[in-house]
C-alpha cells in the first residue's frame, strides 16, 4: 500500500481522536505510545473511538482486535490491513 494511503488512514484516525478529545493537540501524539495513557482517555472514550473507526472505515472491529488499536502506529497498521483484506 502506498504512503499516501497510510497518510490518509492516519488523517482519519486523528480526526476521530480529535472528535473525542478536542483539547489534545493531535500533532503532539507520540505514534508509538499508548493512546489511552498519553491522551488521558477512558474506556468510554476508547469505545467511542472504536465506534468512530468502524463508521469511518466501514469495517467491523472484533473485540479481540481492540488491543491492536493501542497506539497510533499499530492502529494505522491494523486499519490498512483490514481495508486491504477482502
Amino acid at each position: 500500500m502506498s504512503d499516501s494511503s497510510a497518510a490518509q488512514t492516519k488523517e482519519v484516525v486523528l480526526r476521530v481522536l480529535n472528535g473525542i478529545a478536542p483539547e489534545v493537540d493531535i500533532n503532539s501524539i507520540d505514534p508509538s505510545r499508548d493512546l489511552r495513557d498519553q491522551m488521558d482517555i477512558d474506556s468510554v472514550d476508547f469505545l467511542n473511538f472504536v465506534i468512530g473507526l468502524h463508521k469511518d472505515f466501514g469495517i467491523e472491529i472484533p473485540d479481540a482486535d481492540i488491543p491492536k488499536l493501542a497506539t497510533l502506529n499499530s492502529c494505522i497498521d491494523y486499519l490498512r490491513f483490514r481495508i486491504k483484506a477482502p
Binding site: D42, S43, V44, L47, N48, E60, P62, A64
Partner: protein, 383 residues
C-alpha cells in the same frame, strides 16, 4: 430555577427552548441554564401550555425562583416549585401587584407650586417624578433632578470566573459540607471478577462494536440491585432524618476534560437491562463532556458510583455526595494471587469500597451491601 446540586444557590438563564403558546409535557427541555457545573438543560415538571416567560436570557435568579408560567388545565401555574424562596433577588417582572391598581385608587402625589412651575419650565412630566419631600411630596429639587440628563449607571465590572474555577468552588463546597456534616465510615472488599470478565468477553465477542458492553455497566447494575436489597444505602439524609428513595437513580462520577467532576444520574438502574444501561451510560458520559446534561440527571441521584480503576487506582475511599448517604468506589482490576480450594491461583481482583453515612447505617449493613454486590457480580448473566 431548579436546584441542580446540594450547594447551588442560583443560575443564569442562557436561552429559552420554548415560547409562550407552546404546548409542553413533563420532561421536555424548556431552557438552558448556566451553573457552576456548566450549562444544564432544564426539564419542565408540569404539562400544559407556556403562558409567559418570566426570566429573560442573561438574568441570574436564585434557586426556587419561577422561570415561566405554564397553563395547566386552564390555570396558570409556575413552572417550578419554589423550595428556597429568595425574595431579595426577586426580579422586576415579579413586581408587587400594587403597581397595577386602578388609577382611581392611587393617591394623588402632592406637588409644591414651585415644583409645578419648574416642571413647566423644564418640560418634565410630573407623573414620572418621585417625590422626596415631606410625605412624599414633589419638590422643585426633585423636578430638577428628573430634568437632568441621565447618564446610565456604569455596569458592574463583569468578573466571570473561569468555568473550571467555578466548578472547583462548587465541588469544594459540597465536599466540605459532606466531611463537616456526614460521619463517614469506610469498608473495603475484594471481588473476584473472573466470571464477570469471562462472561463479558464472550458477550462482546459476538456483538458488533456499536453494541458492546463495558465492565463498568455491570458494576453500576450490581450496585443498583444491591441497593434494592439494602435500601438504607439508597436515599437522602434531610431535616435530621433518613428518607429512603423509592427509586434507584445511580449517580456516576464523570471527570471532565477541562477539569472538575460532575455526578449525573442514570435513572431507574434497577429496572433496566444491561443493553439499555450501556446505551444510557454512553449517552450520559458523552453529554456530560459536551456540556449537555439535563436538570433531572443532575439532581436525581440517590446513590453514587465512582470508578477510578482506569487511572490505576486500586482502592477508592470516596466522599459522600450530600444529601445522599452512600458512595461506592471501584478500583483497578488487577491479576492477583489468591487461594482457591487450597491452591494458589491468579484471579482478576477488584477492590470495592463503600463510604457510608453512620447516621443511617453501620458497618454491618454496609458489609451486607458489599456482599450483595459481590454475589451479583458472580452471576453476570443474571444482571
Amino acid at each position: 430555577m431548579p436546584s441542580l446540586g446540594a450547594d447551588m444557590e442560583s443560575g443564569t438563564l442562557v436561552d429559552w427552548r420554548v415560547k409562550p403558546g407552546d404546548a409542553v409535557k413533563r420532561g421536555d427541555v424548556v431552557a438552558l441554564v448556566e451553573t457552576e457545573k456548566g450549562v444544564i438543560e432544564v426539564e419542565i415538571f408540569e404539562s400544559g401550555v407556556i403562558d409567559s416567560l418570566i426570566v429573560q436570557p442573561g438574568e441570574k435568579v436564585p434557586v426556587g425562583a419561577p422561570l415561566a408560567l405554564v397553563r395547566s388545565d386552564g390555570a396558570a401555574v409556575e413552572t417550578q416549585p419554589a423550595p428556597k424562596p429568595a425574595p431579595e433577588l426577586t426580579t422586576e417582572k415579579e413586581a408587587p401587584a400594587a403597581e397595577t391598581k386602578p388609577a382611581a385608587e392611587m393617591p394623588r402625589p402632592r406637588i409644591s407650586p414651585l415644583a409645578r412651575k419648574r416642571a413647566q419650565e423644564l418640560g418634565v412630566d410630573l407623573a414620572s417624578v418621585a417625590g422626596t419631600g415631606e410625605g412624599g411630596s414633589v419638590t422643585s429639587a426633585d423636578v430638577e433632578r428628573a430634568a437632568a440628563p441621565r447618564t446610565p449607571p456604569k455596569p458592574p465590572v463583569a468578573r466571570k470566573e473561569e468555568p473550571y474555577v467555578a466548578m472547583r468552588r462548587v465541588i469544594a463546597a459540597a465536599m466540605a459540607r459532606s466531611k463537616r456534616e456526614i460521619p463517614h465510615y469506610y469498608l473495603a472488599a475484594t471481588i473476584d471478577m473472573r466470571r464477570s470478565l469471562d462472561w463479558l468477553a464472550t458477550e462482546n465477542g459476538r456483538r458488533p462494536v456499536t453494541q458492546r458492553l463495558l465492565h463498568s455497566v455491570l458494576l453500576i447494575r450490581a450496585v443498583a440491585l444491591a441497593a434494592r436489597e439494602v435500601p438504607e444505602m439508597n436515599g437522602f439524609w434531610t431535616d435530621g432524618a433518613f428518607r429512603p428513595a423509592e427509586r434507584v437513580h445511580v449517580g456516576v462520577a464523570i471527570s471532565l476534560r477541562q477539569g472538575g467532576l460532575v455526578n449525573p444520574a442514570i435513572h431507574d438502574v434497577d429496572k433496566k437491562g444491561l443493553d439499555e444501561l450501556m446505551e444510557n451510560m454512553l449517552d450520559l458520559v458523552n453529554r456530560a463532556r459536551a456540556g449537555h446534561l439535563r436538570s433531572s440527571e443532575i439532581s436525581d441521584g440517590t446513590i453514587t458510583v465512582t470508578n477510578l480503576g482506569e487511572q490505576g487506582v486500586e482502592g477508592v475511599f470516596g466522599v459522600i455526595y450530600p444529601p445522599q448517604v452512600a458512595l461506592i468506589g471501584f478500583g483497578k482490576i488487577t491479576d492477583r494471587p489468591v487461594a482457591i480450594d487450597g491452591m494458589l491461583g491468579i484471579r482478576p481482583i477488584l477492590d470495592a469500597t463503600v463510604s457510608g453515612d453512620h447516621r443511617v447505617t453501620d458497618g454491618h449493613r454496609g458489609g451486607r451491601f458489599l456482599l450483595a454486590i459481590n454475589r451479583l457480580l458472580q452471576e453476570p448473566q443474571k444482571l
